[in-house]
């Protein structure tokens, strides 16, 4: 189980460029979806990779289901050699995603984000519209099941009458 406040404080405290996506973003928008991990899309710029290392290093990140006997080094070259990382840490499961299906890379995700105040930080979360695009593109049953709720929320919060 992820400790949401601790993750946000670690990433935002280190000034990491990231956008919360997935279940945590759904909940921030009022969905009742239950998730146990923290998904975020991150900028792959060199300085940002350094900030990610700074933010998460002390939480002992390792790829999930990675054999204990094998060494894992969480450094810039590791982050440069991959795009998406599903990590187990002392503060829970954190997925670092370089791109989001249906939207694109960090810059595209950023364009679909909004800022909310969380635990003392201005944090970017994927908008309802962005979540709808991403869930449609992902296309798995668990993604499609949240669409009716997201579409209802979008309609309720819209200035236009339904």
């Amino acid at each position: 189980m992820v400790k949401i406040e601790a993750v946000i404080k670690s990433l935002s405290g280190a000034e990491v460029d990231y956008v919360i996506v997935g279940g945590v973003a759904l909940n921030a928008h009022s969905s009742g979806y239950i998730t146990f991990d923290f998904d975020c899309c991150y900028s792959r710029s060199g300085p940002n990779l350094k900030r990610i290392i700074e933010a998460l290093f002390s939480h002992n990140p390792r790829p999930r289901n990675f054999p204990d006997e094998l060494p894992f080094v969480f450094d810039i070259s590791t982050l440069r050699n991959g795009t998406n990382f599903t990590l187990e840490t002392n503060i829970g499961k954190i997925d670092l995603l370089g791109e989001i299906s249906g939207i694109g890379d960090y810059q595209a995700v950023l364009a679909h984000s909004e800022i909310v105040r969380l635990y003392g930080f201005d944090v970017k979360i994927l908008s309802i519209e962005g979540l709808i695009k991403a869930k449609r593109a992902a296309g798995r049953t668990k993604d499609l099941l949240v669409l009716p709720e997201l579409e209802a929320l979008r309609e309720a919060l819209s200035d236009e009458e339904e």
């Binding site: 406040e5 921030a28 969905s31 239950i34 146990f36 909310v116 209802a152 309720a156 919060l157």
Partner: protein, 76 residues
């Protein structure tokens, strides 16, 4: 006159996405409750739900083990 999000959710117009969600099985009153909270309060509720579910899963696992032990002892 424009309706508030809460009014829209509590009295969905036929044919709307909100009505479709209700037909799909979404409890719109829960959505109304969530909309009254701040994003941080919503994440705190999610955290509590995660903790409760994890605790429930642990208890269920323990109970299953106890039942299995009881059965294996009674077979002896």
């Amino acid at each position: 006159m424009k309706r508030t999000p809460e009014e829209k959710l509590l009295n969905p117009r036929p044919g709307s996405k909100i009505a479709a969600a209700q037909e799909f099985g979404i409890d719109l009153t829960l959505l109304v409750g969530q909309l009254r909270l701040t994003p941080e309060e919503r994440l705190n509720e999610l955290q509590s739900a995660m903790e409760s579910l994890e605790d429930f899963a642990k208890q269920a696992k323990l109970a299953r083990k106890k039942t299995e032990n009881k059965w294996s002892k009674s077979k002896l």
